[in-house]
Symmetry: C2
Subunit: 109 residues, 2 copies
Amino acid sequence: MVSSGDVNGARVYSPTGDHLGNVDHLMIDKQSGRVAYAVMSFGGFLGIGADHTPLPWGKLRYDVQLDGYVTDITKEQLEAAPAVPEDWQRDRTWGQTAHDHYGVAPYWM
Amino acid sequence: MVSSGDVNGARVYSPTGDHLGNVDHLMIDKQSGRVAYAVMSFGGFLGIGADHTPLPWGKLRYDVQLDGYVTDITKEQLEAAPAVPEDWQRDRTWGQTAHDHYGVAPYWM
């Protein structure tokens, strides 16, 4: 288990072990207690600047050996991702579209 | 939704609205992404000192109006709770006993 503090900064890798970026923080659905999004900091590595990008938590898998998370999200998927509106945390329509885009079931399902 | 940072310090109330204590941090099961425990700081209010006490996350319910969490855990339940071993995060036997004690399904079920 990890503390809600320690997840911040956890490293995220590609399936081939490249270090893609870091988890900046998690967004937790208050009512269900489920982690909904990992807000990622890519540091420009994937060409999308150092912006914080919410990714569906279901796309990250913890890897014991790496002591980090692995995602199969590609640069192409990130570049083609639906624009993140300012109120993305409350925008269920964007949420559905984003989960569809990355091909993963929404956290509220 | 809340940021994994902002949950830290969230207020916890009794069903009658008394402020019982605060969430110090959450413990998240890395592999499932589920919140497992809220580690509470009671500040001595319930007579158990200012120690940090892990409570099953399923015993906390978010209340929109209070903008905090409500639990029906009683002082008597806390006082009679199974002792928390040092390695409680990895001790599934303690985890099962604690969830049984508070009458809530474990996060891994």
